[in-house]
């Protein structure tokens, strides 16, 4: 691999959580699909962590995650398995948003 290919990795607009594997990650994958209609959800499972990404912006709603988990869920409980994330984050009581402000 050359310098060019390393440099190419920079040119992406993927945002979204990097989760520890488990039932929450599974619920987030489903919620990402439901809460971001029309967007392709990219899932990259590295066993110890799972990248769940969409282009440019991803919103996750507390209610959707709750339905997918089948149990009550507070938005900030996401942190238990949120190891990292791509893009910027905006956290609220009932949703979390990952986004880039600029496209490359």
């Amino acid at each position: 691999m050359s310098i060019t290919s390393s440099g190419q990795a920079y040119h992406n607009n993927l945002v979204g959580p990097v989760m520890r594997a488990g039932d929450l990650a599974t619920a987030i994958i489903e919620a990402a699909k439901l809460d971001n209609p029309g967007k392709e959800v990219f899932v990259d499972d590295k066993r110890a962590y799972i990248r769940i990404h969409t282009e440019h912006e991803m919103v996750l709603y507390r209610e959707t995650i709750e339905e997918e988990l089948g149990r009550p869920f507070k938005m900030n409980d996401l942190e238990v398995d949120l190891s990292s994330f791509a893009g910027q984050i905006e956290s609220g009581d009932n949703s979390v948003r990952f986004y880039f402000s600029k496209k490359v």
Binding site: S6, K46, N76, D77
Partner: protein, 501 residues
């Protein structure tokens, strides 16, 4: 009684700035500690942390995290993972715990400085939680290795390393002291939380967790990925500070701090994380190469986020992209060759199968690093062990404190980047290391590298024994080949086959 939603009261609850009447603002927030960049309190009140958390939520979430990490440890304690692990993997654990565990306490102190001295109320709140996070990381990463201390003396370095003058620790301390122990609150938020934690900690705590999971070490994988869930929150302390600085015309100062911290982190990871991912982790358990992890976490994720915040790619971007395929191979060869001077047993990682993997991941490896390894391998196969150990000192960079190295072979390019400052001649391993030093020479000028100390007669007697004593490496702790050279058998067999034909 119904509880208010967090966002109904969060902004009010963290409005904790006031106008001091009995002291001046500079006495309440000394610029040296607060790093206000000439901005008054009210400019910092615009600081809005994007990843919000309150203390009651924090306690609940952290309790859940600890319950998870400790229960996995308890469940797997009797599975003899450590006893049965490949010696290369044990070295991964030893290097990790020694280089990191005690640094977590230092990070707690840095978080505490933001907690007290930042003029931004939101930052004070988030770093209160961040400080508790770092205490957690220190405690866990001392507690988890402790069960192995009775089985292996080198595991004791999880606690011991940080207090020693072992060369790798001098380099690690030099970097961490620079970005977090000797900087004002705002600079800490930029250099430690933003530059180091949103970027590089992912390499060590998630990239390595992926390798750990493949190696079957789920206790370790679970521990370090749990730690990273704290990091992903408190790493966000720096972002809004960058935004305030950029809005107030301080982009150049912010950019400079990011560029210094990213370069220092890169150099440290090239000696710590590069070798363990590409050489120590057993071949069948390597999830990706070090370079691929760097591309994933640093190039695609961190640098992309950095420019989204309004900063530029570092001026040394092209040098960095070239180096992520090269530097760590030299660092590995150096730490293997000088193996008595580390607290773990380096795995050579150069069997024919491993070399094929290296050649695939780093085309040209055999024509460059491979040539040097051929000589080491021949000496080991011939039983010429005296030649497989060093006789001289490496040249050490006065910025990163790591050996000055280049890529061997036809394009041999090792070069010293010297600088004379106040009558003393300094040596640097790259243009970037020298640039970092030049940004604030008086900050670094008084430091002596391990080689400077040797030449100044501070290490006596001036031989390997004296050096090991200076580094606090006792017999039984000094590193040697992780597999006791068993890997050389395949080369012995190859030579025998060749002779027979």
């Amino acid at each position: 009684m119904a509880l208010l939603n967090r966002m109904d009261w969060y902004d009010l609850a963290r409005t904790t700035n006031w106008s001091p009447k009995y002291v001046t603002e500079d006495e309440l927030f000394p610029p040296l500690m607060s790093g206000a960049f000439g901005l008054p309190q009210n400019a910092w009140e615009k600081y809005d942390e994007p990843y919000k958390q309150t203390y009651p939520e924090y306690v609940k979430v952290q309790r859940d995290k600890d319950a998870g990490a400790y229960s996995v440890k308890a469940a797997l304690e009797r599975s003899r993972i450590f006893e049965n692990a490949d010696p290369g993997w044990k070295s991964v654990m030893k290097a990790h715990y020694g280089a990191i565990a005690r640094g977590e306490y230092a990070a707690a102190s840095a978080e505490a400085r933001m907690m007290r001295f930042s003029k931004a109320p939101g930052m004070r709140n988030m770093s209160t939680l961040g400080c508790l996070d770092e205490v957690r990381h220190g405690q866990m990463q001392l507690y988890f290795p402790h069960e192995h201390v009775s089985k292996d003396r080198q595991m004791d370095w999880a606690f011991k390393a940080y207090d020693t003058n072992e060369w790798g620790m001098i380099a690690a301390r030099h970097f961490f002291d620079d970005i977090m122990m000797t900087r004002d609150a705002i600079s800490v938020s930029i250099m430690l939380t933003f530059s180091f934690e949103t970027g590089f900690t992912n390499m060590q705590f998630l990239g390595l967790a992926a390798d750990a999971a493949e190696a079957g070490d789920h206790t370790f994988a679970n521990l370090i990925s749990s730690i990273q869930t704290d990091e992903s929150r408190h790493a966000q302390i720096g972002g809004p500070a960058l935004k305030v600085l950029i809005e107030n015309g301080q982009k150049a100062e912010a950019q400079k701090r990011v560029d210094i911290a990213v370069w220092g982190a890169w150099k440290l990871f090239s000696v710590l994380t590069g070798p363990i991912m590409d050489y120590y982790t057993p071949l069948e358990h390597r999830k990706q190469s070090f370079k691929e992890f760097m591309e994933e976490w640093i190039v695609a994720q961190f640098e992309r986020a950095l420019t989204d915040m309004g900063l530029d790619l570092p001026w040394y971007w092209d040098i960095f992209l070239k180096d992520i395929a090269e530097t760590h191979h030299g660092m590995h060869m150096g730490s293997y060759f000088w193996r008595p001077t580390v607290w773990w047993n380096p795995a050579a990682g150069v069997t024919p199968d491993e070399r094929a993997w290296l050649e695939e991941k780093y085309p040209g490896w055999n024509d460059t690093w491979g040539q040097c390894w051929d000589v080491i391998i021949d000496n080991v196969v011939d039983g010429n062990m005296a030649m497989a150990y060093p006789e001289t000192l490496p040249y050490v960079c006065n910025m990163c404190q790591l050996p000055i190295l280049g890529t061997p072979g036809k394009k041999w390019n090792v070069k010293d980047y010297p600088l004379e400052y106040n009558g003393r001649l300094y040596h640097f391993g790259s243009e970037v290391d020298r640039w970092c030093f030049e940004q604030e020479p008086e900050r670094y000028a008084g430091h002596l590298s391990i080689v400077d100390r040797f030449l100044a007669g501070m290490i006596q007697p001036m031989d390997l024994g004296g050096a090991l004593a200076y580094m606090n490496l006792a017999p039984g702790e000094c590193g040697d080949d992780a597999h006791n050279y068993a890997w050389a058998e395949v080369y012995r067999a190859l030579r025998a086959t060749k002779k027979a034909s």
